[in-house]
């Protein structure tokens, strides 16, 4: 949001206070201030929301806060729109002329950095209010869009009028509130953008605002117009909003009156402008009259509605469908108002802006005469009506009482008032109850501090790292990879004292202390590690120093907006995650000053950056970031620290010597030069790291060893206390002897000679060894699919082993001539499969099922007849686990809930990675850019998806706690070698063997019946009932339910 405002101001060349435009135009100056003030108010509100979320509030409280937030976002946007209007009139019309349209177009992308649903909402409104600009720039085409806009305003407007939760949220507003429940999480990223210091904003800004007041006296017609229109839209918006929620008639009436009053104000302004225009613009007159007519319609519609309820003398609850024409009237009113305002602006543009004198209030008073006289009484009763009409109303009162300090909230609402000298008494009275705080606003402007909300200043995020050194957080395994940044930061910082939250894998995380000690300070024993860290910290000022220095600096919305940023080049998805961005913007996100970077984001970046940039460019941009942030007073230090940490994390735990070492010539001078100048200890440390890394590079595989050490440590740490007892291998001495004999050329062993559990265990150990060795780079960029020189040695070894196992299964079954014995072998493999499932070894399970389910095995019907029903049912259960239907819904569900150690079916990840790669573009367009040709930025979403899948796989890379039986493993490997080298690995060979064992039965007809899809797999005469169901099932299941009677039928 901040970035959006900044970009917006930048595009309008009003970023700097002393910019010519700002100096030259009072209106712009004031609106700019107002915008900044709104922004800071929004920021504060986000802060408070964060606090509330942290204290686990009631949903109601949360709702209130969220509503506030939405309201503020809306205000910021409204203000920006008004700013743009004024800017266009005052500036663009004067000196930019034709460029105006272009500027305006450029100003549009002010919304891209959608942070959360809140801003999305705001965004939405802003988008909707664009027709206004178009309207006045082009003078037409707005009528189609305006109704939509009216809608959107209604949601915002309702917020303005009530800013309380609605029990019956309707339509647009409903959407906003529906999103809200999900917001605690959504809003967090937004909050993280927001600097945690906001102590004296309101004071400062309100002060400066006050200084602007003298200028207000020469209020310009254009401003008047904007203010009047805003007020009108606000009321009419709440009018529609109210209607949609079936509120009480009294409330509706009040709102109607307010709308009418506001509309009248608008008309007054329009009239005045019209008077001023020497040519008495006809179109304007038309538009004005049109608007007045619409207003009349509206009033009439309301009146019609109320006559009956009045007669009853009770509060009449409006049903939503009752007032459809009311909404229609209001909508058309808004439309004509928009038209009118647009035309007025054109006129103003032509005749030049002029000072507005206090206009008689006759007009605005006269409107009330058209309403039932009863209306007047409602003015005074109004607060009561609101509290006793409905549960909604009571909630409003509750919420307003429970809210700690509403005044600052409404600061900006009240702002238009001082500059509206014609704000007539009726209008002020008619403000909805909550805005009654208006009265106190002048006070709040003067005595900002006392009225400030009780904002407890959040400690900067660094402290969250330091305070999290509790040992339990260190030992607590963090399985949830997508966990909040905080929890990850917790476990990481416990091992390395400074802020290095750049790891998310539980294993890696807790292994990090080992890593960092080893890779960086081999000369120090791990016990002195902490000390060295402390030294390091103290040398660039302790964290608390940084913290306090930050606190001393006053929060300054203005200076914040002035800071250079690429944040407008980021795209967020609905979940608030970064979905795309230019490289500088992503790097900025990586080194945010005000929050712990999102763990998933950071991990993704480290994991995948080589796919979208080079190590050299990455280093260069980090260094650039280090430099351009140094201009910023309040965030230079934290950001520079983060830049250092990014380098550190990269070199320590994500370094890939073969590709990354080319960046060393860039990193080293930076470490010894600028970094050392700014943060001496950090510079030294980074220089040390570069040295270590280049040594490691010479020794090639060292980083891998370190990371696997980390993994081993973790797994032991995790599992020793749970089950210290390693299971005893189920193997007898004679079995071991037989294995040794077989190895030395004695009698060969059979798969039937051993316990299925032990066979499953030993194969699991063999496979797990390969699985745990899989490196993330093997899984990136479809590396494993490279046929030649693939670096993905372990992934390919996994696939090979699975294929080997499948072939071994087929071989053991098909090499037996006796059908009865074949059935026993099948039974043994089913048992092994069951044990694999018990061991969470899905990869081997898949291989076994593939083989048992293959046509060459499945077609052996004589054999299957000899397999017991129990075994068949078991096999069916196993098959269901790895069933590929619905994209492996069953298997995915199981894997999601599985806890390591586990051997997932790797193929599922490989397919996922392939489709993420081919199904997502490498770039995406920044929205809202000129002519629809948004700048292409990195599609980070794709990389996030990739990283997420790799993370799922890595989650299981923990060795099994099983005792290896080398003899058995040797034998298994020899069997695999035998099968691999034999001729029969070819599927066709197996099939021939299968045909030899059980020759094909002669068919009754030469031409195959079309119904027999599954013919080859099993002789089948087409039991029609199974055909209606999922065909994938019946091949297999029928194989087991095949009855002898059917066989006879087939034979005949």
């Amino acid at each position: 949001m901040i970035a959006a405002v900044r970009y917006f101001l930048q595009c309008t060349r009003c970023l700097n206070r002393d910019a010519g435009v700002v100096q030259g135009h009072v209106g712009i100056r004031r609106l700019r201030k107002g915008l900044l003030s709104d922004l800071s108010s929004f920021v504060k509100s986000t802060k408070r929301l964060q606090e509330i979320v942290e204290t686990q509030p009631s949903t109601e409280e949360l709702q209130n806060q969220l509503d506030e937030l939405v309201l503020k976002a809306f205000k910021v946007v409204t203000r920006a729109v008004r700013f743009l209007d004024v800017w266009l009139q005052d500036v663009a019309a004067q000196d930019v002329g034709a460029a105006a349209a272009g500027e305006q177009g450029r100003a549009r992308p002010l919304q891209p950095p959608t942070e959360s649903a809140v801003e999305e909402n705001a965004n939405h409104e802003a988008a909707q209010s664009r027709p206004q600009e178009i309207d006045f720039a082009a003078g037409q085409n707005s009528s189609i869009l305006l109704p939509e806009r009216a809608h959107s305003v209604s949601s915002g407007g309702t917020g303005v009028a009530q800013s309380a939760p609605n029990p019956h949220p309707a339509h647009e507003l409903g959407q906003a509130t529906v999103q809200d429940p999900s917001q605690p999480s959504d809003a967090v990223p937004a909050i993280q953008l927001v600097p945690p210091r906001s102590a004296s904003v309101s004071h400062r800004l309100s002060y400066s605002m006050r200084s602007g007041i003298p200028a207000q006296k020469n209020s310009l017609a254009s401003e008047k117009l904007s203010a009047a229109q805003d007020a009108f839209l606000g009321y009419i918006g709440s009018f529609i909003g109210l209607h949609l929620q079936s509120r009480s008639s009294s409330e509706l009436l009040v709102i109607t009156q307010q709308s009418v009053a506001a509309c009248r104000q608008l008309l007054v302004v329009v009239d005045e402008v019209w008077e001023r225009d020497a040519r008495r613009s006809e179109t304007l007159e038309q538009a004005r009259n049109n608007m007045q007519d619409r207003l009349g319609d509206l009033v009439q519609a309301t009146q019609d509605l109320f006559t009956p309820s009045e007669a009853e003398g009770s509060d009449h609850v409006l049903m939503p469908d009752q007032g459809k024409h009311l909404v229609a009237a209001a909508t058309s009113c808004v439309r004509s108002a928009g038209d009118c305002v647009g035309k007025t602006r054109q006129v103003i543009e032509k005749i030049g802006d002029f000072e507005f004198e206090a206009v008689g209030l006759g007009l605005s008073e006269s409107i009330f005469n058209r309403l039932p006289s009863l209306a007047a009484s409602y003015y005074t009763e109004q607060p009561n009506t609101q509290t006793n009409t409905e549960d909604t109303a009571s909630e409003i009162s509750q919420s307003s009482s429970s809210r700690p300090a509403p005044p600052p909230l409404y600061q900006s609402v009240s702002k238009p008032l001082p500059k509206t000298p014609l704000a007539s008494p009726p209008i002020e009275k008619s403000l909805p109850p909550i805005t009654q705080t208006t009265a106190s606003v002048p006070d709040s402007l003067e005595n900002g501090p006392p009225l400030r909300p009780p904002l407890t200043i959040d400690p900067p995020t660094y402290s969250s790292d330091t305070r999290s050194q509790s040992p339990e957080s260190a030992t607590k395994p963090v399985f949830d990879k997508e966990g909040r940044a905080e929890s990850i930061g917790v476990s990481v910082s416990s091992s390395s004292n400074d802020t290095d939250p750049y790891s998310y894998r539980d294993s890696e995380t807790s292994g990090l202390s080992t890593i960092s000690t080893r890779a960086t300070t081999p000369d120090q024993s791990p016990s002195s590690h902490k000390d060295s860290e402390k030294q390091l910290l103290s040398s660039f000022g302790s964290l608390s120093d940084i913290q306090s220095s930050i606190l001393e600096e006053p929060y300054d919305a203005e200076s914040q907006v002035l800071e250079k940023t690429y944040a407008h080049e980021l795209i967020y998805n609905k979940e608030g995650q970064v979905a795309g961005g230019s490289l500088p913007a992503l790097i900025e996100k990586l080194t945010t000053h005000d929050s712990t970077p999102d763990a998933m984001f950071v991990t993704t970046f480290y994991l995948t950056f080589r796919l979208f940039t080079t190590p050299v460019e990455f280093s260069q941009l980090l260094i650039n970031r280090f430099e351009y942030v140094s201009e910023s007073r309040h965030m230079a230090r934290p950001v520079q620290l983060r830049v250092y940490n990014v380098f550190k994390g990269w070199l320590e735990s994500h370094w890939q010597g073969d590709t990354d070492s080319e960046a060393l010539p860039m990193i080293l001078p930076f470490a010894t030069g600028r970094l050392r100048a700014a943060l001496p200890a950090a510079g030294r440390r980074l220089a040390e790291l570069t040295a270590k890394v280049s040594e490691v590079h010479a020794g090639a595989l060292v980083p891998r060893l370190i990371s696997s050490v980390g993994k081993t440590n973790t797994s032991i740490g995790l599992y020793t206390d749970k089950d210290t007892q390693l299971p005893n291998p189920i193997i007898t001495k004679s079995q071991l002897n037989a294995l040794r004999n077989a190895k030395n050329g004695g009698n060969p062993c059979s798969i039937l000679d051993f316990d299925p559990l032990e066979l499953a265990r030993q194969f699991t150990i063999i496979e797990s060894r390969i699985f745990c060795a899989i490196q993330s780079e093997e899984l990136l960029g479809l590396e494993w699919t490279n046929k030649n020189h693939s670096k993905a040695v372990n992934v390919r070894a996994m696939s090979k082993l699975s294929t080997d196992l499948a072939n071994l299964v087929a071989d053991t079954i098909l090499s037996v001539d006796d059908a009865k014995k074949r059935a026993i072998v099948i039974k043994q493999w089913v048992k092994i499969g069951m044990k694999c499932l018990e061991l969470n070894n899905y990869d081997s399970l898949m291989a076994i099922i593939c083989s048992l389910n293959s046509s060459m095995v499945l077609r052996l019907k004589r054999t299957w007849e000899l397999v017991s029903v129990k075994t068949r049912n078991r096999l069916e259960e196993l098959r269901a686990v790895v069933d590929c239907s619905k994209n492996y819904a069953v298997l995915r569900q199981r894997l999601e809930n599985e806890i390591a150690p586990c051997l997932p079916f790797v193929g599922i990840y490989l397919t996922d990675l392939t489709f993420v790669d081919v199904g997502n573009q490498t770039t995406r367009q920044l929205p809202g850019s000129r002519n629809g040709e948004g700048a292409a930025v990195i599609n980070f979403d794709k990389h996030m998806k990739t990283a997420k899948i790799i993370g799922q796989l890595q989650r299981f890379q923990i060795p099994y706690k099983l005792v290896a039986v080398p003899e058995m493993q040797d034998w298994m490997e020899s069997q695999i070698r035998r099968v691999r080298s034999s001729e029969e690995t070819n599927v066709q060979q197996f099939y021939r063997r299968s045909l030899y064992l059980e020759p094909r039965e002669t068919r009754p007809a030469s031409k195959p019946s079309p119904s027999e899809h599954n013919e080859g797999t099993f002789p089948d005469n087409g039991r029609s009932n199974s055909k209606d169901h999922g065909r994938e099932k019946f091949d297999f299941s029928r194989a087991f339910t095949f009855s002898s009677s059917q066989k006879e039928k087939l034979a005949s």
Partner: protein, 195 residues
């Protein structure tokens, strides 16, 4: 796809279409292009209906489940499993690679052996038709093979989305044609189809 399809979707038949071909022929791209909605900005292949797509051919409705072994080409046993589940096949090669066409022979044999039917619904697909300059498999070779196998031949460009829908439509039509007698046969036992 079609607005009126919703009500009939309940009766739409499920078909498994298996996309086969050696690695690097762009078969996963073909699948992704077919399954993906043009408007989807972000494709997630990990959800249940990532590979499901409703299709209508001559007013007949079907739901296709695309089985694609993409990424698991080295796990050859796995391919068997998919072939067994398949009701129709796309045999994909790249017009820029003769070996990718040769590899289809094995796959074709495997299907024929498994299904014991040489008229099983299949379509021969020469992908990467946009890379005309790199073409090594002449169109005539493709057509000759398609005549030999008795299956239609299409050239596609997954990258340019040409003929992507067509090949899936073709194989669906063939699966439906093959199915029609079945539908007639099962009519005496309507079971729960109507319910």
């Amino acid at each position: 796809m079609s607005g009126g399809g919703r009500s009939r979707r309940a009766t739409a038949r499920d078909y498994n279409v298996v996309v086969l071909g050696s690695g690097g022929v762009g078969k996963s791209c073909l699948t992704a292009q077919f399954v993906q909605n043009v408007w989807i900005e972000s494709y997630d292949p990990t959800i249940e209906d990532s590979y499901r797509k409703h299709i209508r051919i001559n007013n007949r409705h079907a739901v296709l489940e695309i089985l694609d072994t993409a990424g698991t080409d080295q796990f050859t046993a796995f391919r068997e499993l998919y072939i067994r589940q398949g009701h129709g096949f796309l045999l994909v090669f790249s017009i820029t690679s003769m070996s990718s066409l040769r590899e289809l022979y094995d796959i074709y044999e495997e299907i024929i052996t498994q299904k014991r039917d040489n008229r099983f619904p299949m379509v021969l697909v020469g992908n990467k038709a946009d890379l005309e300059d790199d073409r090594v498999v002449d169109k005539s070779i493709g057509f000759r093979l398609s005549r030999e196998w008795g299956i239609p031949y299409y050239e596609t460009s997954a990258r340019r989305r040409t003929n992507v829908h067509e090949v899936f439509a073709e194989v669906t039509a063939r699966m439906m044609d093959r199915d029609r007698p079945v539908v007639r046969e099962t009519r005496p036992r309507p079971k729960c189809v109507i319910l």
